[in-house]
C-alpha cells in the first residue's frame, strides 16, 4: 500500500479526533478515537503498512497525535495472524 497515501489518510483522521484535545484525559480519548477508527475501518494490510511506515522512520510525516495514537495502541492495531 502506498505509505504516503496512508499517512495522509491517518492525518485526516487525526485532525478530526485530536482537534479539540490538547492534553489530559481529552488527549487520551482523542488518541483512542484515532486508533479505534483505524481499527474499525482499515483492512489489516493497511494497518500493517502504516505501522511499518512508522517503524521505518516516517513518524515525522505523521501528525504528532497520530504517531502517538499508533504507538499507544499498537497492539489494538496489529492484525492477528490468520490461517
Amino acid at each position: 500500500m502506498d505509505a504516503g497515501k496512508l499517512i495522509k489518510m491517518a492525518n485526516d483522521i487525526g485532525r478530526f479526533f485530536a482537534a479539540p484535545a490538547a492534553a489530559g484525559p481529552a488527549r487520551d480519548q482523542a488518541l483512542f478515537g484515532i486508533a479505534d477508527h483505524i481499527k474499525r475501518f482499515w483492512d489489516p494490510r493497511m494497518r500493517s503498512a502504516i505501522l511499518a511506515a512508522l517503524d521505518a522512520g516516517h513518524a515525522q510525516a505523521l501528525d504528532e497525535p497520530v504517531a502517538a495514537a499508533l504507538l499507544a495502541h499498537r497492539t489494538l492495531l496489529t492484525p492477528v495472524a490468520k490461517a
Partner: protein, 942 residues
C-alpha cells in the same frame, strides 16, 4: 390490489375519518369533511360525467359537465367544486341534467375532430367516453412533435386547462398557459414548441389530458396497452412507483402510480419516458470470456463463464492470499441482489472485501448520522416536507437530481414555507417562477463545515437553542463541549466570512430563520458528502437539527437525498467492508455468529478493503481479482488515470452489467445483466421506503442478476438455494432486526414499507427518533473546520465542482441510450463571464480543464450560475473525462472522494486532450473485440 389506482375519483381525497353522511341516487355513503360531491359519488360507485376534473388536481369547475341536482338547493351546481354537507341528497341522473350535459358536449365536440377510430387514445379517451354518439366536425390545428416522447395535437384540445394546472400545481414548472379567451382560447407552452419552452418533460400534463391532445408517442406507435404491472423506477433515490403498461412483453408506457407513496402519481422525464435503453441494441445478451483485455471476447455459456471466473478467483487466492479478491455491489440492483453479492464475498471468497458505490456518494451520511443519531438513514418520509416552515437545501439540486421530491418541495414553498439554499451554484431553486430563496449562502466549495459552524455559532450565542429538547434528548456532556466549541469567536459568521465568502449578515439572518420559523427541515445531497470533511458536515447538520429541536416529528428532520435508486438499500444490505446487513460491525461476535450459523461458514472478523483501497492494493499486487455488479467504476470514480492503472493490473475482473460499460473494457469475464424490467426484487429509496420491483418481461440474457450471482457462488463451491427473490428477502428479514417484519406478502398488502419494520412497528416507520434517538441520547460532535489540501494557487486558480442534470443519470449508461440525449448530448464546462473573459474564452469554445492529476477538454458554457472562481461540469459522458481531473483526496472517515473540490486551470485549446485521444483509441479497440452485432453508434449514443 392496485385497482384503485385506475379509478379517477375526480377530486383529491380529504384526510380524516369519514364522518359526513350523504345520499347519492339513493345510495348512502360516508366521506371525510371537505370531500366533493363528485368524489362522494365515486366512493358510492356512481360515476358523474366529467372532463376538467381529475383526482390529482384541485377542482376547477370549468367544463360544467359534472352538474348535479341537490335537494333543497337551487340550480345545478358542478359536483367537483361542491362540498358535501351532512344529510345532503344528490341526484346525478335526471332529464334536466342530461339536457344540460348534452349541450356542454355539443359545444366541445363542435371544436374537436372525431377521428376516434384512428386516434391513439381510442378506447382510453375521456372525451370519447363522455361524448357517446355525438356528431362529427373537424378543424385543423398544428401538431407539436418537438418533444421526443409526447406530441401535442391542438386540434383535439378542449381547453379544459387540466394540463396547465398539472404543470403549475403538480410539477411546479409553470410552462403552460391558456392564450386568448372563450372559443379562441388555446394552450401554449409560452408561445414556443415544447422543446424550446420551460417544459422539463415530466409528463404530468400528458397524464392529466382527458383527450389525445397530449399523448405519448409510444402509445401512438404501439397502441393501447393490454395489461399493467406496478413496479419502481430504477433511476434516482426518490423511488417513484409506476405502472408499467404492457402489450405482451413490450412496454407501451410507464405511468406514475397514484398509490405510490413516494411520488403520489407524479414522475420526471427519466422514469416516465427514458426506459428505452432496456431493449437497446447495445445490450449484451451472452456471457463472454477472454484471457487478456487485448483479446477478442468469446461468447460462452453461463456455465462456462462462471466456471472460468471461479477458477480464476481461486487461482488468485491460492497465489496471493485469501484477501486478494473482492466484489462491488450495485446501488442500481435490487436489495436481494446486493445482499447476495456481499454474501458471496463474505461466505465464498472468505473475506470482507465488499463495497458499493455509496462509498463514493453517501458513505459519510452513514457514518455521520450513525454517530450522532444512531441510525445510518434519513429521518423523515417525503410527505413531511408538506409540513415544514423553513427548509434548508444544502449541496443538493433536487430539481435536477430528485425532481419528484423537488415538485413537492416547490408546492410547499409556493404555499409559503421559507427556503435557505447553501450551494456554490445558483441552482434553480434559488430563483424560479413563484419561488425565491429567502437566503442563498453561495459559499466557496470546500467550506461546508465553516458554514455550518457559523450558523451554529449564531444559534448558540443568540440563545436560540431549544434547551428543553436538548436537555431531554441529548448527551449533556457532548452538548456542553459542542456549545463551548461553536461559541468560540473563530466560528462566528464574521470570522468565517473570509473562508466561506458568505457575508456574515446573510449567515446570521439564515441561522435566525432556521431556528425560529417553526418546523425546520434540512435536505442535503452530495455537495455535503463528497468532501474531505463530508462526514464532519453531516454531523454538523445533525448538531444543528438537534440544537433547534428539529428531529423526531413531521415537518422537520435531517434528510439525505440519495443519488441512485437503491443507495439506501445497498448500504442497508451490508455492502460495506466493515458492516454486515443492518450496519453491524464485522467484529461484533454475536452478529457474526448469527450469520455464520445461517450461512454455514466461518466469517472474517476484520474489515475488508473499500473501493479506493482496492485500487491501491491492486497497484501493490495484494489485490488481483474483482467481481463488479452493475457499477461503472472506471467512469464514475475519481482520478481516472489511477483507476485505469488499478483495473489494468487485475488478473481477473468480472463485470456483470447490461452494457459493455467503461469498466467492462478492462474485464476478463462479462456476465450479461438484467434491467429492472426483467426481474423481481425490491428497492429502498431515500426515505427508507422498500418498494417492489416486478418483472414485466423475461431477462434478455436468460438470468436475472441474482441468478447470475447464485451461479457464480455455486461455481465457487458455495450453494445458495433460492427459487425466488422473496426467499432472499425472508432471509434478510430473519437476520436483520430493522427488516424483521418485511415480506413480499406484506409489501403486496401495503404497497411499500419504510424500515424499521418489526414487532414494534409492524407497518414501518415513516418518521424516526420520535420518542428517543435510536442510539438513546443524541450525540453532539465537535466539528472543527479543516481546510482541504486541495487549494487554489497560481497554477490552479479555479475550483472545479461537479454534479448532474435532470435528463441524464450518473454515468449515463442508461440515459445516453434514450432520447434524453436531445436535452444533453455532451457535458459542458460552466464558467463565470468574468473568468471566461480574462482567459479569452467565449461560449462554445473548446477549453482544456487541468488539475494536478490530469487534463481533459470540454466546451465552455459561459454563465452566471457559477460564482467567479468556480467552474462546474457533469460526468454523464465518458469521453468528457471529468474524473480524469478529480483527485483521490477523500473524506477522512469513509474515503468518500472529494469530487466537489478540485483546483484547476482552464484555457482555450483547439484539440482534445491526450487522455481523450487514448480513450477514443481504446474504445475502438474494445468495440472490435466484441462479437459481430447490430451496428450502433460508439459510446452508447442513440
Amino acid at each position: 390490489m392496485y385497482s384503485k389506482d385506475t379509478i379517477d375519483f375526480g377530486t383529491p381525497a380529504k384526510p380524516g375519518a369519514a364522518t359526513v353522511a350523504v345520499d347519492i341516487d339513493g345510495v348512502a355513503v360516508n366521506v371525510p369533511a371537505g370531500t366533493s360531491v363528485m368524489r362522494a359519488a365515486m366512493e358510492a360507485g356512481i360515476a358523474v360525467p366529467k372532463l376538467c376534473a381529475t383526482d390529482s388536481l384541485d377542482a376547477f369547475g370549468s367544463c360544467r359537465l359534472c352538474v348535479v341536482e341537490i335537494e333543497g338547493k337551487r340550480g345545478c351546481p358542478a359536483s367537483c367544486t361542491t362540498i358535501v354537507e351532512p344529510g345532503m341528497k344528490v341526484h346525478t341522473q335526471t332529464p334536466k341534467l342530461a339536457q344540460l350535459r348534452r349541450g356542454v358536449m355539443e359545444l366541445y365536440i363542435s371544436d374537436h375532430p372525431l377521428d376516434c377510430l384512428t386516434c391513439a387514445a381510442n378506447g382510453n379517451c375521456e372525451l370519447q367516453n363522455m361524448a357517446g354518439a355525438f356528431a362529427i366536425t373537424h378543424f385543423d390545428a398544428p401538431t407539436d412533435t418537438s418533444n421526443p416522447y409526447f406530441s401535442f395535437d391542438a386540434s383535439k384540445c378542449i381547453v379544459c386547462s387540466r394540463c396547465v394546472r398539472a404543470c403549475d400545481e403538480v410539477q411546479g414548472t409553470f410552462a403552460l398557459t391558456v392564450l386568448g379567451r372563450g372559443f379562441d382560447s388555446k394552450i401554449s407552452a409560452g408561445g414556443k414548441p415544447f422543446m424550446d419552452s420551460d417544459c422539463v418533460s415530466c409528463g404530468a400534463c400528458v397524464q392529466a389530458c382527458p383527450t389525445a391532445t397530449l399523448m405519448e408517442k409510444s402509445v401512438i406507435q404501439l397502441g393501447q396497452p393490454d395489461r399493467s404491472v406496478v413496479t419502481t423506477c430504477a433511476y434516482c433515490g426518490v423511488g417513484c412507483s409506476f405502472r408499467a403498461e404492457m402489450k405482451g412483453s413490450q412496454v407501451v408506457r410507464m405511468v406514475p402510480n397514484k398509490d405510490g407513496h413516494a411520488n403520489e402519481g407524479h414522475s420526471c422525464v427519466k422514469g416516465r419516458f427514458a426506459w428505452g435503453y432496456a431493449t437497446h441494441p447495445d445490450r449484451i445478451k451472452h456471457p463472454m470470456i477472454r484471457a487478456s483485455i487485448h483479446d477478442p471476447w468469446r461468447e460462452v455459456s453461463w456455465d462456462e463463464a462462471v466456471t472460468y471466473a471461479a477458477s480464476e478467483f481461486r487461482r488468485i487466492q491460492a497465489k496471493y492470499g485469501r484477501g486478494a479478491v473482492g466484489g462491488i455491489t450495485s446501488s442500481r440492483c435490487t436489495n436481494e441482489e446486493t445482499y447476495l453479492v456481499q454474501k458471496l464475498v463474505r461466505a465464498a471468497f472468505g473475506n470482507n472485501n465488499v463495497d458499493t458505490c455509496a462509498r463514493v456518494c453517501h458513505s459519510p451520511t452513514g457514518y455521520g448520522l450513525k454517530t450522532t443519531l444512531g441510525e445510518s438513514a434519513g429521518t423523515q418520509d417525503f410527505e413531511s416536507v408538506e409540513h415544514a416552515d423553513v427548509v434548508i437545501v444544502m449541496g443538493a439540486n433536487p430539481t435536477d437530481a430528485h425532481p419528484v421530491f423537488a415538485s413537492r418541495l416547490k408546492q410547499r414553498l409556493i404555499a409559503g414555507a421559507k427556503l435557505i439554499v447553501i450551494d456554490p451554484r445558483k441552482t434553480d431553486l434559488v430563483s424560479s417562477p413563484h419561488i425565491r430563496a429567502a437566503h442563498h449562502l453561495q459559499l466557496r466549495p470546500g467550506t461546508n463545515v465553516a458554514m455550518i459552524n457559523s450558523l451554529a455559532h449564531v444559534i448558540v450565542t443568540e440563545n436560540r437553542v431549544d434547551e428543553a429538547y436538548v436537555a431531554a434528548r441529548c448527551e449533556p456532556a457532548d452538548f456542553a463541549r459542542w456549545r463551548e466549541f461553536v461559541a468560540l469567536p473563530k466560528n462566528s459568521p464574521e470570522a468565517m466570512e473570509a473562508v466561506t465568502g458568505v457575508p456574515a449578515a446573510t449567515a446570521r439572518a439564515a441561522a435566525r430563520l432556521y431556528a425560529t420559523a417553526g418546523n425546520g427541515a434540512i435536505y442535503y445531497g452530495l455537495g455535503v458528502t463528497e468532501h474531505s470533511q463530508g462526514s464532519t458536515t453531516v454531523m454538523g447538520i445533525a448538531n444543528l437539527a438537534m440544537a433547534t429541536g428539529n428531529i423526531g416529528r413531521t415537518g422537520v428532520g435531517v434528510n439525505p437525498l440519495r443519488g441512485q435508486n437503491n443507495v439506501q438499500g445497498s448500504c442497508d444490505m451490508g455492502s460495506f467492508p466493515h458492516e454486515f446487513p443492518g450496519y453491524r460491525h464485522v467484529s461484533d461476535d454475536a452478529t457474526r455468529q448469527l450469520f455464520e450459523k445461517a450461512w454455514g461458514v466461518a466469517l472474517d472478523n476484520e474489515p475488508g478493503l473499500r473501493i479506493p483501497n482496492m485500487f491501491d492494493a491492486s497497484l501493490d499486487a495484494s489485490f488481483r481479482g474483482m467481481y463488479v455488479q452493475g457499477e461503472d467504476i472506471a467512469h464514475s470514480d475519481p482520478n481516472t488515470h489511477h483507476v485505469e492503472a488499478a483495473l489494468s493490473a487485475l488478473e481477473c475482473l468480472v463485470v456483470h452489467d447490461i452494457f459493455l460499460n467503461e469498466t467492462a473494457k478492462y474485464a476478463h469475464v462479462f456476465l450479461p445483466g438484467a434491467s429492472f424490467l426483467e426481474k423481481d426484487g425490491t428497492f429502498t429509496n431515500a426515505e427508507r421506503r422498500i418498494s417492489r420491483v416486478r418483472k414485466v418481461m423475461p431477462p434478455l440474457a436468460g438470468k436475472a442478476d441474482w441468478e447470475g450471482t447464485v451461479a457464480l457462488a455455486a461455481a465457487l463451491g458455495y450453494q445458495m438455494d433460492y427459487k425466488h427473490p422473496s426467499e432472499i428477502m425472508d432471509e434478510i428479514a430473519r437476520l436483520t432486526p430493522t427488516f424483521h417484519g418485511v415480506s413480499y406478502a406484506k409489501l403486496d398488502e401495503l404497497g411499500s414499507i419504510q424500515w424499521p419494520c418489526n414487532d414494534a412497528a409492524p407497518t414501518g416507520t415513516p418518521i424516526m427518533h420520535e420518542q428517543a434517538f435510536v442510539r438513546g441520547k443524541g450525540r453532539f460532535m465537535v466539528t472543527e473546520y479543516v481546510a482541504t489540501d486541495e487549494k487554489v494557487g497560481p497554477r490552479f486558480p479555479l475550483l472545479l465542482t461537479t454534479g448532474r442534470i435532470l435528463t441524464q443519470y450518473n454515468v449515463g449508461a442508461q440515459t445516453r441510450r434514450t432520447d434524453n440525449v436531445a436535452w444533453h448530448s455532451e457535458d459542458t464546462l460552466e464558467i463565470h463571464p468574468h473568468d471566461a473573459e480574462t482567459r479569452g474564452i467565449v461560449h462554445g469554445d473548446r477549453v482544456a480543464l487541468r488539475s494536478r492529476v490530469g487534463e481533459t477538454t470540454l466546451h465552455a458554457r459561459v454563465t452566471e450560475r457559477v460564482a467567479p472562481g468556480v467552474v462546474y461540469t457533469t460526468f454523464h459522458h465518458p469521453e468528457s473525462g471529468a474524473n480524469v481531473v478529480t483527485t483521490d483526496n477523500s473524506d477522512w472517515a469513509t474515503n468518500c472522494p472529494e469530487y466537489k473540490v478540485t483546483a484547476v486551470e482552464v484555457a482555450k485549446v483547439m484539440s482534445v486532450a491526450a487522455w481523450q485521444a487514448n480513450f477514443d483509441e481504446f474504445h475502438r479497440e474494445q468495440m472490435r473485440h466484441l462479437p459481430a452485432r447490430p451496428a450502433s453508434s460508439p459510446k452508447g449514443g442513440r
